[in-house]
Symmetry: C2
Subunit: 361 residues, 2 copies
């Protein structure tokens, strides 16, 4: 079976050289005589794998020692609660910028724990863009401002991360981490599910400024939901998701070998521009995101009517362009073009869209 | 690099045919044109993988529809909290049988949430055996009795699961699930980290009798820590650990093809007997577990002194018998002989022990 161009939103395409390496090492890693999947997480071999992954991520994102890098489980969805429980005491205020489904979920989990406030929202506008944020919209004494850097479902992103706001910034970067350059110093906490731009599902990365890790947490908070637990143990309080860490480490090294995050961003902007140009020039396809908020990772577009949409998805599928169906919450089409999607795949999609439009004209 | 006999306690050896299948399908699964790691968890292909895994596990363990099978993350360590939060309200009583490190940790996390009571313990006896349990030792109105079926660190197991006790039984089966036959009807909840007998780390299996799933939980409990969340969504509230589910599914099918859990138990008893006989006949090696509580999954033994222990570990390592070092909490040696460890490996270890003893005589 030939490999397709996989535009899935997550789990998503991985770089082929990474998969080939994983395949090569599957029965026996290095001199270990066993698969990474079979290796004790307390072994020297695995410790080296984890250390290499962390070091590579630190280099790629310019993360200094004033930040801890944690390898966790549970996805961004568990972080929605964990971050609130770790950064706010009950009754504390925290602010949320609502820019999509996952931002809403983060807010809802925040509400379970603290006085979560909606500082800004584009919900009324069906999340077509990202909200404007200002110091005036934040709560007094806010423990953090939570935002979602890129909105996978709506295909939007913050063109720039807001700066100079009085609350520490907590950012869900699941769908854009390593996809464009950010200044780590702008954030108190960054988290990301691995399954979009970093590796297989089952690994969650948390990057937290060490001075944000509190120890005065309510007793009832589980050991496994405390950042300190993982910071103290090098993410090995219990068995970590070893294989996902290993694959993510290979992805980090692949990103470095390709020129780092700067080069990834250049490519992602080029890929996105090609699709947006195709959409803007079309009278059949229409973009759904507001121009100023267009994502460089998830390009969302529609065709008139469900029948035509299905027909296009089938047409694309026959050309090996797969998983372009939009999220079930919004319908339409979505091309996720994370780091592992080559320009050739995006060109093939743009050509396919043009061909389909010509056929329908 | 040749594969070794890997006696690691978890992550642990996987069946070679499973690894070979994973390798074969690594770049493209079936007709999907992508790796399982790259596949949307909402895709038909992945849903089939998850369904197959669940169905196979149900067949293997005789799990009826009155139980839900959940695929979670976070390991047994997160279950320590999750089970308490889901089965007990604050102030409710719950009982714990302490038979080792992990049982203690489960109890400690229980204490954060409810009135956790130690119903029985062998701690005073350095966990050399498992405790006796009786109705009289349970708290009045106890919401559950928690026990650890097999104690990885101490090499002990309950020879029989206690029956007829007034509290619903909650069981950590991490290191013995599918290793011997149990009657599912004896349990209200079974949980297991996958990385010992089921598959790669990062997947946690929960089997819960549906009538135990409560909805009247305290508001502050995170959505991601509610069993209902996963029961309602078929374990896909958010992205599950897809690749680990896939590999576990292959392991389940391998167990079936080898004759099911009954045959696994027969083999495990045979392997364990061979090692215990070697130990009992030796004047150099000594078993640490009380005879009546000896585990058929983790065989713990010591040599006189650390120097001799190191020498033996090196001697075994040179013969391709690896990861026999005991847990850092107790020292000595431990041979974990889960389902994937063939009799040949255990024979090689027994021979190696005899050879070492002769050499030292």
């Amino acid at each position: 079976m030939q490999r397709v161009y996989n535009f899935a939103a997550g789990p998503a395409a991985l770089p082929l050289p990474v998969l080939e390496k994983v395949k090569e090492e599957l029965l026996s890693y290095g001199q270990a005589g066993c698969s990474v999947m079979e290796m004790s997480h307390r072994s020297k071999s695995f410790q080296e794998i984890a250390d290499r992954a962390e070091t590579a991520l630190r280099r790629l994102m310019g993360i200094g020692d004033d930040y801890a890098v944690l390898f966790l489980q549970g996805g961004a969805s568990l972080q929605f609660s964990m971050l609130a429980m770790n950064l706010a005491a009950r009754g504390d205020r925290a602010d949320y910028a609502l820019s999509g489904n996952f931002a809403e979920k983060a807010y809802e989990e925040g509400l379970r724990w603290c006085e979560a406030n909606i500082a800004a929202s584009t919900k009324e506008d069906s999340y077509k863009g990202v909200p404007e944020l200002s110091a005036a919209s934040l709560s007094e004494g806010s423990k953090y401002l939570h935002l979602t850097a890129n909105n996978t479902i709506y295909g939007t992103m913050y063109p720039e991360i807001p700066k100079g706001l009085p609350a520490p910034l907590v950012c869900d970067m699941s769908s854009i981490i390593l996809g464009r350059e950010y200044d780590i110093k702008d954030f108190a906490l960054i988290y990301a599910g691995a399954q979009k731009n970093l590796g297989p599902a089952g690994l969650t990365i948390v990057i937290i400024r060490r001075d944000m890790i509190r120890d005065d947490l309510e007793d009832s908070i589980p050991t496994m939901l405390r950042y300190r637990t993982f910071e103290k143990s090098g993410s090995m309080y219990n068995t970590p998701p070893c294989f996902s860490i290993y694959v993510a480490g290979l992805v980090f090294e692949w990103v470095e070998s390709e020129g780092g995050v700067k080069e990834m961003e250049r490519r992602n902007r080029e890929k996105a521009a090609l699709l947006y140009e195709t959409i803007d020039a079309s009278s059949l396809f229409a973009g759904t995101a507001a121009s100023a908020s267009r994502s460089i990772m998830n390009v969302c577009f529609t065709l008139p009517g469900e029948e035509l949409t299905s027909e296009f998805l089938k047409f694309a599928g026959e050309r090996g362009l797969c998983s372009i169906k939009g999220h079930r919450a919004v319908g339409g089409c979505r091309a996720s073009i994370y780091n592992a999607m080559p320009l050739e795949g995006v060109k093939a999609l743009a050509d396919c869209m043009k061909e389909f439009e010509t056929k329908k004209a």
